[in-house]
């Protein structure tokens, strides 16, 4: 397993400027993506997971920008500072589609309705490879087949609205993987799909990851997905990564009050109706009216005066870090956390 990172994000801050207000969506996050490993970024809506992805791909909306920090892509030949690149400039465009690829939440709206899916896949090949028309079409059909689309020869000439949801998502994955990207970012790829299809899609992503040694960044709000698929996990809350590390570590030893609260609020499959679920008290703050210091403060059981200052990132061990003044207290107070992995049974034979 290659431990050299493909992407290093260091103290990234991204601010949004809508309606003449400044929203500090990302407030200094740092993490790394590694080849052949899946990082699950998990958190509630509005915590900044999608914006992280957009920042890496330099796909931020017009009224926003990367304020400070760095995003470095460690390519084969050299390192590229993505945050310094001109939006839609030549360099980032070369990377997008061939080194960095992204799949989105709703394949119905993410695919152009007036072009066939074959055409859209071939377009990616056209701009990043030197294949001719016949070769591109052959490759497109191959890709669809690899992604598990039945009857690929016929599907390649169909329009997005003629396919089912699962097939559309497979087509989008085919498009993203067409040039063997080093990094695949998946932004809640199954939220818009049926649960049974979800499992298939995740299986597909895992298979691709191991076949191509891709670094996968999977954004989700579903802890079940995290325990099933992740190698590493980063828990986000209101623009900060509050805890990150290998998934077994973090789930066994949650060191941030938010992480443990999350784990306690989710039912585990097959553990019965008598599970003790505890919803997290309070609500997520208004982004324009944030608490000072640690954002989770008002909802935290371990809150003290010290928490009005944002905690630095401290190490729990070599690979597991947390942003909390009271990490030790949190770990000590652990009731045995339901083992989400233990309750899982294979859904699909």
């Amino acid at each position: 397993m290659d431990m050299k990172p493909v992407i290093t994000v260091d103290n990234l801050r991204t601010y949004f400027y809508n309606d003449k207000r400044c929203n500090k969506v990302l407030n200094g996050i740092s993490f790394k993506l590694y080849k052949g490993r899946t990082l699950c970024v998990v958190g509630e809506s509005g915590c900044g997971k999608s914006v992280t992805a957009s920042s890496i791909m330099q796909l931020l909306p017009v009224l926003s920008r990367i304020e400070s920090g760095s995003i470095t892509y460690h390519g084969d030949k050299n390192d590229i500072r993505i945050d310094q690149l001109e939006r839609n400039g030549k360099t980032i465009r070369k990377l997008r589609g061939s080194d960095l690829a992204m799949i989105f939440q709703d394949p119905m709206t993410a695919l152009n309705p007036v072009y066939t899916i074959g055409w859209q896949i071939m377009e990616n090949l056209k701009y990043h490879t030197t294949l001719n028309l016949k070769e591109r079409r052959k490759k497109a059909i191959e890709l669809l087949e690899q992604m598990g689309v039945s009857n690929p020869g016929k599907r390649v000439d169909q329009y997005p609205h003629e396919l089912s949801g699962g097939m559309r998502q497979r087509a989008m994955i085919a498009m993203a993987m067409s040039c063997n990207p080093k990094i695949l970012i998946a932004d809640e790829p199954t939220t818009a799909l049926d649960v049974t299809i979800q499992a298939q899609i995740f299986e597909l992503i895992t298979k691709l990851k191991s076949e191509h040694d891709t670094a996968v960044m999977l954004i989700t709000h579903d802890m079940g997905v995290v325990s099933e698929l992740a190698d590493d996990v980063a828990v986000m809350y209101m623009g900060n990564i509050v805890e990150q590390g290998p998934v077994r570590e973090v789930l066994k030893n949650p060191s941030h009050p938010y992480t443990s609260a999350l784990l306690r609020s989710i039912p585990v499959l097959h553990q019965g109706a008598s599970q003790d679920l505890q919803p997290i008290r309070g609500v997520t703050p208004d982004p324009f009216d944030r608490p000072t210091g640690c954002q989770f403060g008002p909802r935290c059981d371990f809150y003290t005066e010290q928490c009005t200052q944002m905690p630095d990132e401290s190490a729990v061990d070599a690979t597991h870090s947390v942003r909390c003044w009271h990490a030790d207290a949190c770990r000590a107070a652990q009731k045995p956390v339901p083992d989400h992995a233990a309750g899982q049974q294979p859904v699909v034979q």
Partner: protein, 319 residues
């Protein structure tokens, strides 16, 4: 697609019939005999009252209203459009002589408006909020607010009389039947006729583009590393164009109506000019016949727009 078109054509027929009935009704309401204009004038000239009565019987002019309507309709379908009250010329001849000029003018105006309007609309959308965008918005407002005839007068004054770049009026000099040779005459009328449509197309293109550029598939296109021009045109405008085509379809009647005024000002020998003279000369048969055909023109144009819309958007159900 063929089935789709045929269905649309069939749906048009009842409408066309109703309109022909209304036109006939209008003919009945105007002073004078509704159908006597269908008779060649030389047959009516210098006849004695008894002979006239016989002719009337012969042509069924004393029959009940409905019967007269159907006779009239059958005559129209056979190509007999009657004779002009003013000079006895067969109306069919008048129409055949004048429609090429109007067709030329309308098509030119349509092309200019669509191309120019779309281009300006896309530019406005891409550079939203810039000075160019604001200037174009105001210009567009101006375009729909200035009366066409006034704009015509101003442009004649400026370009023809003062600057002497373009001719004052008329369609061509004798012998200039080929389009390219008399294109100087076409420029000004086509531009003025198209101003309102250009402004409308520009505004619709802009808002359609803005809507489209917010969509998810644009973000997907960018995530593939495509150049901006391709994202804007091939992914953006290609989808944004459909509502614009629908708009143009809606505004086609105005183009046809506007030609009445423009042809008058620029002495363009087309159907619009003929219509104007007919109304002023109380030449009712000609007025009604031209009105009837203008409706047909609108219906056919709408049909073409429907087909084009279906061709542009694969999501439109063809059955």
């Amino acid at each position: 697609m063929l089935k789709f078109s045929l269905k649309k054509i069939l749906a048009m027929i009842p409408m066309a019939l109703v309109i022909s009935f209304l036109i006939y009704l209008g003919l009945e309401l105007t002073p004078g005999d509704a159908v006597s204009y269908m008779i060649p004038p030389d047959q009516l000239a210098n006849v004695s009252p008894e002979k006239l009565e016989a002719i009337r019987e012969l042509y069924g002019l004393n029959d009940p209203f409905i019967v007269r309507y159907f006779r009239w309709l059958i005559q129209m379908l056979q190509g007999n459009f009657g004779f002009s009250l003013t000079n006895g010329v067969p109306i069919k001849k008048i129409l055949l002589e004048t429609y090429p000029a109007t067709l030329e003018l309308s098509v030119a105006a349509l092309l200019i408006s669509t191309l120019l309007g779309s281009f300006l609309g896309i530019v406005s959308a891409i550079r939203r909020g810039s000075i160019a965008d604001n200037a174009l918005t105001v210009a567009g407002m101006l375009g729909v607010s200035i009366p066409q005839f006034f704009l015509g007068m101003v442009s004649i004054l400026l370009f023809a009389l003062q600057l002497k770049w373009l001719p004052i009026g008329g369609r061509m000099l004798p012998g200039q039947t080929d389009l390219l040779s008399h294109i100087r005459f076409l420029i000004l009328p086509a531009l003025v006729l198209g101003v309102t449509l250009t402004a409308g197309v520009m505004r619709y293109s802009r808002s359609s583009m803005l809507d489209t550029m917010n969509k998810d598939y644009i973000r997907t296109a960018r995530s593939k590393g495509l150049p901006e021009w391709r994202v804007n045109l091939i992914h953006g405008f290609r989808v944004a164009i459909t509502p614009v085509v629908v708009l143009i379809g809606f505004r086609l009647p105005m183009l046809i109506g506007g030609s009445v005024v423009i042809e008058t000002i620029f002495q363009w020998p087309g159907i619009g000019n003929a219509f104007n003279m007919a109304v002023r000369g109380q030449n009712y048969p000609l007025v009604m016949t031209i009105a009837l055909f203008s409706v047909f023109a609108v219906l056919i144009a709408s049909l073409l727009v429907d087909i084009l819309t279906a061709a542009l958007d694969p999501r439109v159900k063809l059955h």
